[in-house]
Structures are given as structure tokens and as C-alpha cells.
């Protein structure tokens, strides 16, 4: 730890900030998508599932490039955001979006597994006891999906900490602004004199990931016990 430079502390802080923001941003969308896939019958459900899982199979750089096109000034969305004074490319917000997109399938998958374990009769019971669908959603489905939400969030958080390919394309590698731990390590690794600095950051990264994954395993076991 003694080999960490002040900019490394910024990278650690930014990594944690990005991971937290990406997790919080994804949660409502992840819950909604998992709910739609699990409980709602509609045309195009398979297409939705494919789109949601696409980031699992694509190289992160490809995702980053698509995001760059989508959020860049030349796209309708980018120009719309630009007109309203919102600039995303090469900002921390872009890093958050990149992390959220890359980790989104992990979140949806965890919530969905948990939702699929909910006995449909519990939902029927709730309806016959006078609960409207949104009441059932909030008082039955949401609490019973909680282990999935927590497990999915921890996975997305861990994935965000390690996110590199998509982030470097849309957010760049600006120290103190968008430089997260993986990018700082990449920079150190490119320099022959910074081996210890790179190793120190690697240890920090491993430590944070261990804590998060330990939390994830505990929640996963809780899910199994409940199931």
C-alpha cells in the first residue's frame, strides 16, 4: 500500500464511485426487465432476452464503440443531450453508463433466477386478498426478489470495478476524472519502472473484489436456503 500515488487514491475513489453509481442506476431497470421476462407474456420476449444478454457475449470494446456512436454528438440521442447541455462522452457519467451496460445481464440474471423461484400461487393469493398488481409487485414480488437484487447488485458492482474495454472508449483515461483502477494499472503496466505501483493497485483491486464476492456468496447461499 505504501506504493500508492495520490492519483491512485483518485482511481480507487473513482472506481468505487462508478461501481456504486452503475449499480444504483441499473437496479430499477434490472428489476423491471427481470419482472417483464419472468411474469409478463408479450410478443418479442425472446428478443428482449437476447438484447439483455448480448453484453455477455460481446467484447467490451464493441459495447464501448456502440455507446460512443449512440451518445456521440453525431447521433440523434447525443445531439439531443448536447442541446439540453448534457455532455456524456469522456466524463465519469460515460464510465458509469459503460459499466452499467456491461454488468446489466449479470444483474438481470440474478433477479430473474430469484423471481422464477417465487411460487405463482403466492401472487394469486395476494390478488385474491385484495392486492392490485402494483401492490402485489411491491409487497410480494419485490421482497421475495431481494436476495436476487442483492446478489445481482454485488455481481454488477464487482464487474464494474473491473470494467476496462467499454470505459476506455467512451470515458477515456483521464487521471482524476475518468481514470479507474483498471486504467491506472494499464498505465503503470505500460511503464517499465512502475511495476510495484501496478502490483499495489492490483492488490487493492483484488481486496475490494474479494469483499464484494464474499458478500455475493453469502447472499447466494441465503437464496438457496430460501428456495
Amino acid at each position: 500500500m505504501t506504493h500508492l500515488a495520490p492519483s491512485d487514491y483518485d482511481a480507487i475513489r473513482l472506481s468505487i464511485q462508478v461501481a456504486i453509481a452503475a449499480t444504483l442506476l441499473s437496479l430499477p431497470f434490472g428489476f423491471t426487465v427481470a419482472y417483464l421476462i419472468t411474469f409478463v407474456k408479450f410478443r418479442g420476449k425472446v428478443l428482449l432476452e437476447v438484447i439483455v444478454n448480448l453484453p455477455l457475449t460481446l467484447p467490451p470494446v464493441v459495447i464501448g464503440y456502440f455507446l460512443l456512436i449512440l451518445l456521440g454528438k453525431k447521433s440523434w440521442l447525443g445531439s439531443l443531450l448536447n442541446d439540453t447541455g448534457i455532455r456524456l462522452i469522456f466524463t465519469l457519467k460515460a464510465a458509469v453508463i459503460a459499466s452499467a451496460v456491461v454488468g446489466f445481464p449479470l444483474l438481470v440474471r440474478s433477479i430473474r433466477i430469484c423471481m422464477e423461484g417465487i411460487d405463482p400461487q403466492l401472487i394469486n393469493a395476494s390478488r385474491t386478498l385484495g392486492a392490485r398488481w402494483h401492490d402485489t409487485l411491491l409487497t410480494v414480488i419485490l421482497p421475495l426478489s431481494l436476495p436476487g437484487l442483492v446478489a445481482g447488485s454485488s455481481l454488477l458492482f464487482a464487474r464494474s470495478l473491473g470494467e476496462f474495454g467499454a470505459t476506455i472508449i467512451v470515458a477515456g483515461n483521464i487521471p482524476g476524472v475518468t481514470q479507474t483502477i483498471p486504467m491506472a494499472i494499464y498505465e503503470y503496466a505500460s511503464s517499465p519502472t512502475s511495476e510495484m505501483m501496478a502490483l499495489s493497485l492490483c492488490l487493492v483491486s483484488v481486496s475490494i473484489s474479494l469483499v464484494v464476492l464474499f458478500f455475493h456468496e453469502v447472499m447466494a447461499k441465503k437464496m438457496v436456503r430460501k428456495g
Partner: protein, 353 residues
């Protein structure tokens, strides 16, 4: 309660085509597994939409394909007790009980929580987690939760099927008393004739999604006596057990019955006795191994499939025995005949204390 239902529903494997009007407080829907009972109640409660037809409860349309009416389950005020208790695992007993109550419009809230807790003997369980309850306790909580929703109709979809025999007959008094005490009519679904006789007055008998007959639960049991391997099940409330010669002597009405000792050793209880286990004699036999020989009068005869049911008056008690037509001719049994019924001490089976 008046329920009128005309509904058609096509499934991949079979169709439901039901048409009936029924009134009463204790209605049964009887049929074998896969006869469409659960689908039918799902239509009544609003969890399954019929392809066409009408469902009218106490004059109000719950569903009408021609009028374009389909009330949502939460609008129907019909609570349901499921086969598996379906209690919310994230809520404790008290919060489960109050789930429907808090969602019930204030003007309909008539069931008193404290009374219900007392009737169902849930006092010590209120703060408990659902996972820490026994099967019988869970089903009592499920029943209480449905009652607390203050429904105008209670649907009980085989609520005893997941319980073992001893628990089933412990729960039945709760099911009956709660509904009677709070004045809530119910539809009771089961494939057990004994449960039907204990729980209902009128029974709708379904087979392959079609209504076969609408009759009393007693008549249904008699009609099906000849077709079932167990015959007609006589239900006997036995009291005041005393030990005698290694056997249990019970009072039954103004008679005394001897039962084999064993797992039947308790003071009172509800027992079942199959019509097949009652052997009839024209005259008093000299000596027989059966420990119960009762003098009785034939008060009625009825046909049931290939068998003949003989209704026997034994003091204040009544039993039904089954014989074949040839035996009836040989014994010259007609209403008014005085004959003897022999019952083995081991023929009785305890249902509950």
C-alpha cells in the same frame, strides 16, 4: 349465497363446459384429480378467464363475455385457501393474517382479529416466522388470512390434501366453525367423499370438466358406494372409552362398541367404518369371532352400482352396510326387517380425537 356459472374454457388436453346455479352456505365441488375443479374455482375467483359465459354471484356479474365484464380478482371479494398454504414467507403470522384485512374496504371489515385468533388458536404464534410452523398451523393461518380479508365467499381448494390424515381431521372443525362463526359461505373443493360429507350440504360432481350431477353430499356418498373400493364410509362419534379385556369399549349413541386396542386409545374420537366391514345375519348367530354383534332394524334400501345399500337403525344410531342383491334375497331383507350386524373390532379407523 347464490352462484350461477355458465362457462366454457378450452385447454390443450381437455375442455371445461360448466353450467349450474347453486345456492347455500356450504357448497362442495367434487371430482377426481384432473376433473377441472381447480380450473373452475380459478374462474370464480378471477385467476382464470373463461373463453365465454357468465359468472354471477349474489346478483352481481363477476364475468360476462356478452356484457364485456371481467372483474379483477381483487375486485371480487372472494378469498381463497389454497392446497399448499401459500403463506407469504417474508411476513410473520400476524402480518400474514392482516394482509387481506388492510386491503379490505373499511365498510366490509366485520371480522374481529382477536376473535379469529382465539377461534383458530393462533395466540402463541402471531410473532412467529412462517417457516417455524407445522403443516396444520400453516393451514390454520392460511384459513385465518382468508377470513380476515372479509370475503363474501370463501373458496377452499383442497385445503386438506397436503396434510396427513390425522391433521386433516383436526383442521376440519376449524374450517367449519370459522365459516359458521363469521357467517361466510364457502365453496369447498375436494376429491374425498368423507371431506364432502363433513364440510358441505350440496355437492356439484364434476368429471372431465363437465357437471355430472348436483346433489347432497350424503346422496353422493350413497350413489358412489358401489363404485369405490372402500364402499360407503360410516362416520361415528365415539365417546367415553374404557379398557376391557385388552380392548377399547366406546359409547356410540345408546350402543356400545368394542374396538381393537392400539393407536385408538383415547377417550373420544371420530371413527370411520366401511360399509364393507358390516356383515348381516338374518338370525342371531351362535358364535362368531367379530366382537360387535348389534341387533338392528332395516330402515331403507338403495341401489348403488352393482351393490345394494342397507340402511340400519341401531338404537339411536344409523349405519349403512352393503351387500349384493342375491344376499338381500336370501336374507329376505326389506324395510322393517329385524336383523343382526356383525362388525370386527379392528374394522374401525380413527380419523381424529
Amino acid at each position: 349465497m347464490q352462484l350461477s356459472l355458465t362457462a366454457q374454457k378450452r385447454f390443450v388436453a381437455f375442455n371445461i363446459s360448466a353450467n349450474f346455479a347453486v345456492s347455500g352456505e356450504r357448497i362442495g365441488i367434487f371430482g377426481a384429480s384432473g376433473s377441472g375443479k381447480s380450473s373452475l374455482v380459478s374462474m370464480v375467483v378471477g385467476l382464470l378467464k373463461p373463453d365465454s359465459g357468465e359468472i354471477i354471484l349474489d346478483g352481481e356479474y363477476l364475468f360476462s363475455s356478452s356484457k364485456g365484464i371481467n372483474l379483477r380478482p381483487e375486485q371480487r371479494r372472494i378469498a381463497m385457501v389454497f392446497q399448499q398454504h401459500c403463506l407469504f414467507p417474508h411476513l410473520n403470522v400476524k402480518r400474514n393474517l392482516l394482509y387481506g384485512y388492510t386491503r379490505c374496504p373499511v365498510q366490509y371489515r366485520t371480522v374481529d382479529f382477536a376473535t379469529l385468533v382465539c377461534v383458530l388458536k393462533l395466540d402463541g404464534l402471531l410473532s412467529r416466522n412462517i417457516t417455524h410452523l407445522s403443516g396444520g398451523e400453516k393451514q390454520r393461518v392460511a384459513l385465518g388470512r382468508a377470513i380476515m380479508a372479509n370475503p363474501r365467499l370463501l373458496l377452499m381448494d383442497e385445503p386438506l390434501s397436503a396434510l396427513d390424515d390425522s391433521l386433516r381431521f383436526q383442521i376440519i372443525p376449524y374450517l367449519k366453525s370459522v365459516s359458521e362463526q363469521f357467517g361466510i359461505p364457502y365453496l369447498f373443493i375436494s376429491h374425498s367423499i368423507v371431506e364432502m360429507r363433513l364440510m358441505t350440504d350440496t355437492v356439484l360432481f364434476f368429471e372431465n370438466g363437465t357437471l355430472i350431477e348436483q346433489t347432497s353430499s350424503e346422496q353422493l356418498a350413497r350413489n358412489r358406494m358401489g363404485d369405490t373400493p372402500v364402499g360407503y364410509i360410516n362416520l361415528l362419534e365415539l365417546t367415553g372409552m374404557t379398557k376391557r379385556d385388552g380392548m377399547c369399549a366406546y359409547h356410540w349413541k345408546d350402543n356400545e362398541l368394542l374396538l381393537s386396542s392400539g393407536n385408538q386409545d383415547s377417550i373420544n374420537g371420530l371413527f370411520e367404518l366401511s360399509s364393507k366391514d358390516i356383515i348381516l345375519f338374518k338370525k342371531h348367530p351362535e358364535a362368531i369371532s367379530a366382537r360387535n354383534l348389534l341387533k338392528c332394524t332395516v330402515v331403507g334400501l338403495f341401489d348403488s352400482g352393482s351393490k345394494l345399500g342397507v340402511e340400519l337403525q341401531i338404537g339411536d344410531g344409523k349405519l349403512i352396510s352393503e351387500i349384493v342383491a342375491a344376499a338381500a334375497r336370501e336374507l329376505e331383507i326389506v324395510p322393517g326387517s329385524v336383523i343382526y350386524a356383525a362388525i370386527k373390532a379392528s374394522a374401525f379407523r380413527r380419523l381424529s380425537n
